[in-house]
Amino acid sequence: MTAAPGYAYSGPRVGFIQKIVSKQPFWVLIAVVIIPMVMTLVEPTFHSAFFSGENFVNNTRNFAFIAIMALGQVAVMITGGIDLSVGSTLAISGIVLGLLMDAGHSFWLAAFAALLTGLAVGAVNGYLIAYWRLSPFVVTLGMLSIGRSLALAISNNKFFHKFGPDQGLLLQFGGGKTFGIANPVIVMVILALIMGFVFKYTRYGRHLYAIGGNEHAARLTGVPVDLLKVSVYVLSGLMTAIAAVLMVGWLGSVTNGIGIGYELRVIASTVIGGVNLLGGEGGAFAAVVGAALIEIIRNSLLLAGVDPYWQGTFVGVFIILAVLLERLRGRKVG
C-alpha cells in the first residue's frame, strides 16, 4: 500500500508523492531534519554535540514518553474529543507502580496494576463523556484535578526511590538500551506501528474517523458510537500508563509531581503533527513526528546556548505555525 501511515483512508489510486506532500506530518518531518542543519550552519560546534550518539539516545528517549501518550491522545482527538487528564493519569499510574514495588511486589504485578489504573481512569472519563454526554474538555479537566489529588493521597506525599527485589528490572526496562536504542523508543515504535495499522486498516479505525467526521451519521449507520468513545479514552489511559512505567524506570524514582503540565506537551505534539482538534483527522505518525519536533526545538536551542527561558516561546510559535500551515493547506484543497 502506498499511503502516508496512519491517515484517514483517502484512496489508494492517488499519486504517492502528491499524497505524501499534502500531509502535514511530511512537512513537520522536513522541519525535524532541517532545524539541526540550520543550527550547524549558524553554530559550527553544534554539529558535534547534536549528532553525538549520547545526544541521540537522550533526544529520542525524551520524546518517546510524550509520543506514546500522544498516540492515545490522537485516537481521542480523531473522534473529536480531548483528554486533558493524561499528566495526572501518568502520576497515579506511576505512584501505584512505585507504591507496590516499594512494598516488595514484583515488577510484573506492579506494572500490571499501573496499567489497570490507567485503564480505569480512561474508563471513567469515557463513560461520563459517552453515556452522560458531558463535554470531554470539562470531564477530563475535572479528572486532571482528581488524578493529581489522588496521586498525592495514595502516595501520602512520599518520594519513592527504592523498588524492592525487582528494582533492577524496572530500571533496565525504562532506562536501558536494546541494540543501542533506548527501550522507551523501541516501545514507542512498536506502539506507533500498531496504532498506525489500527487507524488505517481496521474497521475500528475507520469508525473512529467517521465519528469525528459526523457523529450523527455514524450513529445512523449503526456504528456503536458510545462504546467506541469509551474505548478511545481507555486507550489514552493505557498509553499513558505504559509511558508511566517506562518513565519511572528511567528516572529511578517517582513522586506525585511527575508529569505536571504534560497534557499540554502531548496536545501540542498532536496539533503540530496536524491532528484536527475538531476531529476526523490525524494519525499515529502525526503524534510521533509532532513530539519529535518539540524535542528537536528544545534540544537545538539548548545546545546552541540559547537561554532556556526562551524554549516555551519557540515551541509556542511552532504550534501556531502548525495551525497556520493546516489552514493554508485547507484553503488549497477546499
Partner: protein, 246 residues
C-alpha cells in the same frame, strides 16, 4: 398487493395529534410525492416508516407481513433506507468509505482482518456508474458538489438492495443543475423497482418525478391520487386548506 401498506395510523405526542387515521401504501417502482405544510405530519409519517418510533395506533404490512419496528436498524434490515436532509455523510471520508460505512468489506484471515478498500472502491464505482453519476469513489466527500453528495447517500441505499427509499427534502439545499441530477437519480432507482417516498416543499420537483401524490394537512390525509389527475394549483389549495379534500 402493495409493497408497504399502512392502515389507520395515528400518532399522539401527549395531547397533540400528529397523525390521525392515515392510510398509506407504497408500490414497487413508483415514486410517491408526500407534501404538506410544516407540522402537517410528513416527517412523523416518514419516521414511523423508518422505525424511529412505533405509531400510537394502526397496523403496518411489508409484503403482506405485519411489521413493528422499534429501532431504525430494524427498518433497515427489512429493506427500508432513509436519505436524510442533512445527508448523514462524513465529510472527512471518501465516497466509497461513506457508501460502505457500517458495512465495510474486509479481507484476510482472523485475527488480521483488514479493510478491503480496493473492493469497496470498485463496488462503489459500479454503483455510481449504475446511477450515471460522475462521483469518483476515492475522492473525499468534503470536496464534492451537492449533487455528488446525494449520489453518495443514494448509492448507500442501493448497496443494501433497499426495497423502499425515503427521501427527506433531497433537493432543498442544492443548485438548479444539481436538482436535475438528483431527480434523474430517483428515476433510476424507480426503474430498478424501488418504491420511493419524496418529501419535499418544492412543487416543481414533486410534479416532475412523482407517480402518486399524497397530501397531509394537520395530521389528516387530504389527497392520495395519481399525479396526472392533480395539478400544482390543486395541491397548493390542499396544503393551505383552501381545498378541503380531493
Amino acid at each position: 398487493m402493495a409493497l408497504l401498506e399502512m392502515s389507520n395510523i395515528s400518532m399522539h405526542y401527549g395531547a397533540i395529534e400528529a397523525l390521525s387515521g392515515v392510510d398509506f401504501a407504497l408500490e414497487r417502482g413508483r415514486i410517491t410525492g408526500l407534501m404538506g405544510d410544516n407540522g402537517a405530519g410528513k416527517s412523523t409519517l416518514v419516521k414511523i416508516i423508518a422505525g424511529n418510533f412505533p405509531p400510537s395506533a394502526g397496523k403496518m404490512f411489508l409484503e403482506g407481513r405485519e411489521i413493528a419496528f422499534s429501532r431504525p436498524v430494524d427498518a433497515r434490515q427489512a429493506g427500508i433506507e432513509v436519505v436524510y436532509q442533512d445527508l448523514a455523510i462524513c465529510n472527512n471520508l471518501t465516497a466509497a468509505a461513506n457508501v460502505f460505512l457500517g458495512r465495510e468489506e474486509m479481507k484476510g484471515v482472523w485475527p488480521v482482518r483488514i479493510l478491503d478498500n480496493w473492493r469497496m472502491s470498485d463496488r462503489s464505482k459500479e454503483l455510481f456508474e449504475e446511477l450515471k453519476s460522475e462521483t469518483r469513489p476515492d475522492d473525499v466527500v468534503r470536496s464534492m458538489s451537492g449533487g455528488q453528495r446525494q449520489a453518495v447517500a443514494i448509492a448507500r441505499t442501493h448497496l443494501s438492495q433497499a426495497k423502499i427509499v425515503l427521501m427527506d427534502e433531497p433537493t432543498a439545499a442544492i443548485s438548479v443543475r444539481q436538482v436535475a441530477e438528483v431527480l434523474d437519480l430517483m428515476r433510476r432507482l424507480r426503474d430498478q423497482g424501488m418504491a420511493i417516498v419524496l418529501v419535499s416543499h418544492r412543487m416543481p420537483d414533486v410534479f416532475s418525478v412523482s407517480d402518486q401524490i399524497v397530501v397531509l394537512r394537520r395530521g389528516h390525509k387530504v389527497a392520495d391520487k395519481p399525479i396526472s389527475k392533480s395539478s400544482p394549483e390543486e395541491v397548493t389549495g390542499l396544503i393551505t386548506g383552501a381545498i378541503k379534500i380531493a
